[in-house]
Structures are given as C-alpha cells and as structure tokens.
C-alpha cells in the first residue's frame, strides 16, 4: 500500500512531464500527433490538435478515459461504438451536448480504408 502511495504521485508527475514534453517540444505546440485506430475496424482518426483547439487539456482524457500510451485502448474488447453510447471512451463527451453525438456524423472520425491508405502514403 505504501508503495502504491509512493508510485501514484510519481505516475502523476511522469504524466505531467510527458505532457509538458509534448507541448514544449519545438514545432509541437499542438500536442502529440494524430492517433489512427485500426481496431476493431479500419480506421478512425483522433486529432490531438483539434481537441486542444477546443480548450481541452491532457487531463481531460488522460489517464481517466484513455491511457497515456497511444493505441493501448484498442487492445480492449469493449472499445466499440456500443461502449461509446454508454459514455465510455470518446462517448464521455461525444453525447450531443458537449460534442457531436457518437451516433452521428460517422465519417467525421471514421476515415476508412481510403483515409488510412492516404495517410500511409504521406509517411
């Protein structure tokens, strides 16, 4: 238990440091880059830049809704639209009040196989 107490502030510090590093790095004032999910199906884009522009900060989502590690969440079985409708993951904000509802504007996040291939070509 004592170990836990020691570790948790360390973890917070570390995540803050990571966050700080992401912001202070030259040319990366828009935060970390885009996250492209490929599971459970092809393909969904998450733009850190777009979300930061809307006044969100790291702690809005990390580590409560999403682990710090990018793409870690897509290993989970419940990373599905059904979970989003229950308020998990993206669905915490994408309810129709705070942000557009998870069951609307599908192709705003879903870039599909075509969008994925286009991004791969750019790299």
């Amino acid at each position: 238990m004592r170990k836990m107490l020691l570790i948790s502030p360390l973890a917070v510090l570390l995540s803050l440091a990571l966050c700080y590093a992401a912001f202070s790095a030259p040319g990366k004032s828009s935060g970390p880059g885009d996250v492209i999910y490929t599971e459970p199906l092809m393909a969904v884009i998450f733009s850190h830049a777009d979300h930061l522009k809307k006044g969100m900060v790291c702690s809005s989502c990390h580590p409560g809704l999403f682990e710090m590690k990018a793409l870690a969440v897509q290993e989970r079985d419940d990373f599905t639209m059904a979970s989003l409708y229950q308020g998990k993951y993206c669905g915490a904000c994408h309810t129709g009040n705070l942000a557009f509802a998870s069951d609307s504007q599908c192709a705003r996040c879903h870039i599909g196989v075509k969008g994925y291939n286009r991004l791969q070509e750019k790299k």
């Binding site: 557009f100 599908c106 192709a107 705003r108 870039i111 599909g112 196989v113 969008g115």
Partner: protein, 248 residues
C-alpha cells in the same frame, strides 16, 4: 426578358401542344410512383393513399421476389468489410471488384466533410449491359430480376463494361468472362441464404438487402415513406436501378 412579365399575355392551357400536355401528365404519374422504379421515389407512398387497393401499386415490381438493396449512405464508414466479404464469397481476384466504396469530400462543409458511397451492380430494370451484349451472356433473370452472367457464352468483348453507367463490371482472367455482382445469387441466395455477403458483413447497417415486392418487408418500408428522401444513381441514364440510396 422578364421585365414586362406582368404585361405579357396569358397563355391559356388550351394552347399547349397535345404532346407537352401528355408529357406533363406522365410526369405526374412518375412522381406519384405509378411509373416509378427509378428516380425519386419519396412521394411514392401517396399512391397508397390515392388508391384504396394496392394492386395497381404492386404491379410495378414485376419480380417475385424483387431483390433490391437500400444503402443508407451516411452510415458508410469505408471499413470495407463488405468488400472483403464479397471478395472472399465470390472469389473475386485482387485486380477486380464486385462492389467498391466511392469517396466524396466537401471541404467547406460544417462538421463532417467526407461521404462514402458504396457502389455495386444496380440490377437495373432496364439494363444497358444486357442490351449491349451480343451473345446474351448477360441477361436479366425473369424470376428475381437479377442481372446475371452466363460465363460460357461470354466472349470477352467488354461491350457491357462500356454500356454500364455504374462501372460495375470487370473482366476476370480466371473465369475468362466478365464478372459482376449478382446479389450473391450463385454463392448464397441459390443455396438458401437470405442475404448477400456484403449486407451481412456491414457493421453499421448501411446495406439493407431484401424483397422490394413484399409490403411487410424492411426494404419496402424504407423506400415507401414520405419522411426520407430516396434516390438512385444516375437516374437520367434511364436504367431504373434496384439499388436505392438514402440517408438516416
């Protein structure tokens, strides 16, 4: 030209040429669905109100079952699970396709700017490919209305590929004939399955397959409602497609 429109002499209806008047009447029939089978069908359900009996109305679907697909365009996310399922089910080679997803981007739209449009053979009621085929390898099935291929008759002239306004055909080196979507008739429907591989694979329900002639069926209920606008691709080609598009 229209500056003096108030001063212009009114033209009584009697001066309309007979042809024009008949054309106008015909247009009315199309809008109410009597002659429909393609084009805009959103007003079709008025027919049910206008005619106490649905007999006349049902006559426009000459096939039993009248296979049809409704694509809810806004639900497509281009995951292409349908394409993968189709390719596997129908042994489609890597260079060919029976169904594809088109992408349309509207850069100045608010919010969502991309739209995915699933494409497949429209199983037209008046198929230009069948008309173009010199050997009758391409034919319209008399029972269910599916545009089919009789591979052994195909000479590979590709006239049907040119005739098709939907680019729904490709030449298969493997079978040495033109290959196209047949609503999975050979691989699934003829073996007792009720749905096509693509509609089963679709995770969002963008593709609904069924019998358009069945008033209790899902497809019939989707198409014949005033609330939603239903359209077909390239209605002016006069092909009367059996694949309908809508949103919602």
């Amino acid at each position: 030209m229209f500056e003096n429109i108030d001063k212009m002499k009114r033209e009584p209806a009697g001066t309309l040429p007979e042809f024009e008047r008949r054309k106008f009447l015909k247009l009315g029939f199309v809008v109410t669905g009597v002659l429909a089978g393609g084009g805009l069908l959103s007003l079709v359900s008025t027919v049910e109100k206008s005619f106490a009996s649905s007999g006349l109305f049902l006559e426009q679907y000459p096939y039993k079952p009248h296979y049809s697909m409704v694509i809810r365009q806004n639900l497509c996310i281009d995951c292409e699970l349908c394409v993968a399922a189709c390719n596997e089910t129908n042994q489609v080679p890597s260079y060919g396709y029976r169904t594809t997803i088109l992408e349309r981007t509207v850069p100045h739209a608010v919010g969502r700017q991309t739209e995915f449009i699933p494409m497949l053979c429209m199983q037209c009621n008046d198929p230009p490919c069948v008309r173009a085929c010199p050997t009758r390898a391409s034919y319209k099935d008399r029972k269910n209305g599916i545009v089919m291929m009789e591979n052994k008759k195909c000479i590979g002239c590709k006239a049907c590929m040119v005739a098709c306004p939907y680019n729904a055909r490709y030449f298969s080196e493997e079978i040495h004939a033109i290959d196209k979507c047949d609503f999975c008739f050979v691989t699934r429907l003829s073996k007792g399955e009720k749905l096509t591989a693509c509609s089963v694979a679709c995770p969002t329900g963008a593709r609904t397959f069924g019998d358009l002639a069945d008033p209790a069926g899902k497809i019939y209920r989707m198409i014949h409602q005033l609330e939603a606008q239903v359209w077909t691709i390239r209605p002016k080609a006069g092909t009367k497609p059996n694949v309908f598009y809508m949103k919602g």
